[in-house]
Symmetry: C2
Subunit: 280 residues, 2 copies
C-alpha cells in the first residue's frame, strides 16, 4: 500500500492504473476505521481492480462548537487495517493540500440537503458536498462507495455527482451493526459504559416503528411514541425521528405504497449524536 | 463537424479522441458568435488536436427581468462559422439535458465572485460557475478557453476549477475590438444607431483613466471623472468603474506597484449593459 499526500502524486498513480486499463474505486473516510468502513473497502475491491481509500477529517463539515478537535484519530491503526486488506493507495492529504490559500468555492445541494441533519448542522452538507466533489475530481475513480448509515449524506452525494456530471458511479454499502443492533460509527467511541447500553435502543425503536406501520398504525402516533421511548431509555434529545420518501426525504404522514420509504433518526446520548436509518 | 446534443454522445467522442491520445480543447459559448468567439476557437485549435465548442444559453445565469428571452440566437450562422473553422464538435445540449428533473446543486464562488457584476446580477456567477463546472465535467477537456472581456467571470471560473480540482487548464483569450475600440459582444446587437456611436467611449474612458493614473493623478478623482464622462457622452447609468487588484478584484485607492491592477467597467446604453476592462 502506498501512502500519498498530494493531488499530483494521486493523479500520477491514477494515470498509471488507467493506462493499464485498470478500474479504480474510491472509499472516502474520515479515519477512525471500523468494520463498516472495511466492508466498503471489500466492496470496492470486488468492484474494481484498484482501491484508493482517502482519510481526511474535513474541517468544513463541522460547525462551530462541534467535535472537530475531539473527533477520534487513529491513523496508525487505520493504515494497518487498510494494508491488511491490500488497499492500493491510502490518500491522506494535509489541510493545506485540500484547501489551498484563497479557496472560496462551495458546492451546495438544496432539496435532499435541507432539513433533518442540516437543521441542526447547518454547514454539514455544504462541507460534505464540497469535499466529496474535490475528492472525486482529485481521484477520478470509476466507482465511489459510501455507507448507508449516513443516508441523507448518501443522497446528497448522489445528487451532487449527478447534477455536476462528475464521471463516477456512486454506490452504497449496507450499515454494519454490533450484535445488539447498534450501527457502527466512529462516534460510538464517545459513549460511556451506561450510554453504550442505551445506544442500541435507537435501532430497536426504528425496527419497532417499521413493524407498527406495517401493521397499519397511524404514522404520527408511531413517530411520537418512538421519540418518547428513546427519551425513556436515556436519550437526552431527539433531533429527528421521521418516516419519509426514500429518494426525496420528503416527510410523509401516510404510508407510501408506490414508492420506497425510509425511517431516519438522530438522537443524543451524552456527547454522542447517533444517527441511524432503515428501509420502511 | 459533428453536432452533439447529449452528454452520452459527447463522452463517447471524447473517449475516442483520448484513446487516440489526442488532446481536447473546449470553448464554451452562448452562441450569437462574433470574432471574439472565433479568436478563442483559433486559440483552441492551436492548443489542442480536437476542439469542442459548446453553445448553450444558460437560463441559470440570468436573473428575473434580464434578457434571457431576447438574448440573440443565430444558431444556423453559428454552426456555419464553426464549420468553416473546422471545429470537431458543436455541443448543443437541450435545457433538459443540461438541467435534469430534480437537479438541485449549485457551485458558488465568494471573493472574486462578489461585488462588481454580482452586485447588480445576483444570480449571475453562481449560474456561470455551475454551468461551467458541468460543461467541463461533461467534456473533460485538457484546456478550456474563455474571453478576457468577461474578466470577473474569467477569474470566477479559474477559481472554481482550481478549488474543485477539475482536471483542466483554464486559458484566456484577449478581447477583440471593433476599429473604434468597442469590445465585441453579442449584446452590442441591442444598440441603436445613436447608442452604437456612444458605445466606444466606454473603452476610451478606460484608456484615458489608465493614462491619467500612470501620470500620477488621484485614483478617486480619475474614477469620478470617468463616470461623469460616460454620462456626458450618453450612458444612462454606470454600474461600476473601478481600479482593482487584477487577481483578487479588491478595489484599490492607491496605485498598485508590486502587483498587477486592472480597470473594470459596466455601464448602460439603452437596453444594452456593456462591460469592458483593461490592464492598469
Amino acid at each position: 500500500m502506498r501512502t500519498v499526500r498530494t493531488v499530483k502524486d494521486l493523479r500520477r498513480l491514477r494515470q498509471h492504473y488507467t493506462e493499464g486499463r485498470e478500474t479504480v474505486a474510491l472509499v472516502p473516510t474520515m479515519g477512525a476505521l471500523h468494520e463498516g468502513h472495511l466492508s466498503l473497502v471489500r466492496q470496492a475491491k470486488y468492484r474494481c481492480q484498484r482501491v484508493i481509500v482517502s482519510l481526511f477529517v474535513n474541517p468544513k463539515q463541522f460547525s462551530a462548537g462541534e467535535d472537530l478537535d475531539s473527533y477520534p484519530r487513529t491513523y496508525e491503526r487505520d493504515a494497518q487495517l487498510l494494508s491488511e486488506l491490500d488497499v492500493d493507495v491510502l490518500y491522506m492529504p494535509t489541510r493545506d493540500e485540500m484547501y489551498q490559500a484563497g479557496a472560496s468555492t462551495t458546492v451546495n445541494v438544496v432539496g435532499v440537503g435541507e432539513g433533518l441533519c442540516q437543521a441542526t448542522r447547518p454547514d454539514f452538507f455544504s462541507g460534505v458536498a464540497t469535499v466529496v466533489a474535490k475528492l472525486l475530481l482529485q481521484c477520478l475513480p470509476d466507482v465511489a462507495i459510501f455507507g448507508e448509515k449516513d443516508y441523507q449524506q448518501l443522497l446528497v452525494i448522489k445528487r451532487m455527482a449527478q447534477d455536476l456530471d462528475i464521471p463516477v458511479t456512486i454506490e452504497s454499502g449496507s450499515t454494519v451493526r454490533e450484535n445488539d443492533g447498534l450501527a457502527l460509527s466512529s462516534r460510538n467511541a464517545y459513549l460511556s459504559e451506561d450510554e453504550r447500553i442505551s445506544a442500541p435502543h435507537l435501532y430497536y425503536a426504528l425496527t419497532q416503528a417499521q413493524h407498527r406501520i406495517h401493521a397499519g398504525e397511524s404514522i404520527s402516533k408511531v413517530l411520537w411514541d418512538s421519540e418518547q421511548y428513546l427519551i425513556s431509555v436515556g436519550f437526552e434529545a431527539i433531533d429527528y425521528f421521521v418516516y419519509c420518501d426514500a429518494d426525496t426525504l420528503a416527510p410523509c404522514d401516510r404510508r407510501l405504497t408506490n414508492r420506497p420509504a425510509r425511517f431516519l433518526a438522530a438522537a443524543w446520548l451524552g456527547k454522542a449524536r447517533l444517527i441511524d436509518n432503515i428501509a420502511a
